[in-house]
Symmetry: C2
Subunit: 184 residues, 2 copies
């Protein structure tokens, strides 16, 4: 991995699990859950959603988000993904929902964010980007259960104006509602 040589699967000394170990430099490659970070961009009484142009769940609506990269915070990742997918600049406000998505080997987090101006456009991974009021949300055409859960809680909490941080668990999707292991 580090040196480019071949790896084999073995249990390193003092460990309990099989890992990919480089036979040249002895580097141990650990596989761990990845963090998906996203934003819930709010403009006045509307929220910004993206229609996915890529699999999984192509054609379904999602909040902008994606895999957190090295060298950035979770909030920075959410803002970067919003710029990439919706060409929109947001100010991150607070951590809102946090999901264990065990079946997809991910932890997903969503931040409440302010969209200062209604300026946005489809990025390369989006077919369409638009603002929705609560009554317009395409509940049947949302890409992932994490998106639905985050939006439902947002509209509930908006009534009181109190937005806690929720720690939640996402069960595997049922068979009639397939999702990909690569992103949830």
């Amino acid at each position: 991995m580090k040196c480019g040589s071949s790896v084999v699967q073995q249990i390193p000394e003092g460990d309990t699990r099989r890992r990919a170990v480089c036979q040249q430099c002895a580097y141990i490659h650990y596989e761990n859950p990845r963090i998906v970070s996203g934003a819930l961009p709010v403009y006045q009484d509307q929220v910004l959603l993206c229609k996915r142009a890529i699999e999984p769940r192509k054609g379904y609506w999602t909040l902008p988000g994606g895999f957190m990269e090295l060298g950035e915070t979770m909030a920075e990742a959410a803002a970067r993904e919003t710029l990439e997918e919706a060409c929109a600049q947001v100010h991150i406000q607070q951590l809102y929902t946090l999901f264990d998505v065990v079946h997809a080997e991910q932890v997903s987090v969503f931040f409440l964010a302010d969209l200062k101006e209604p300026v946005f456009a489809p990025g390369i991974e989006s077919e369409e980007v638009r603002l929705f009021s609560e009554s317009q949300i395409p509940w049947e055409d949302l890409a992932f259960s994490t998106i639905e859960e985050t939006l439902r809680r947002y509209f509930q909490d908006r009534v009181s104006g109190h937005f806690p941080t929720y720690q939640l668990f996402t069960p595997p999707p049922i068979a009639t509602h397939p999702a990909s292991p690569s992103e949830q």
Copy 2:
């Protein structure tokens, strides 16, 4: 990585960053921040700390915690690490602190946890495990700033009995206080 063949660093099509790409099976190896999950085990008015038997920060006190593995939730990871490092069984109560530790390429989370019985012992990565009341905490000998921050907030919040979830940023350690990039 998947097939065991050699990789080279290149920018995959449609991507913006260099990744390790297998020359045999075309598998792209993404490197992303890892999640460290830990517990703050509470027994009556005391908390359980572990003295590290391994680097980094060998000989310093920490909360039990470690890298989240595939196939488990963050809370399960925290309970597993507490069992491994302190031979203690805890009931996880709530997510308490969450840190961006960018310089260490990690996100660290800590859960409040109940230690039902004062039963514990050093695991293989601990020299010593013991309960501390607030006045006994070895503030100068804590392993990481995330540990200190979590403990300080706990003892403050205990006064009111209100424990929110905190989302925090951990700056790089100053030069006179070296920390390893491998765990913070």
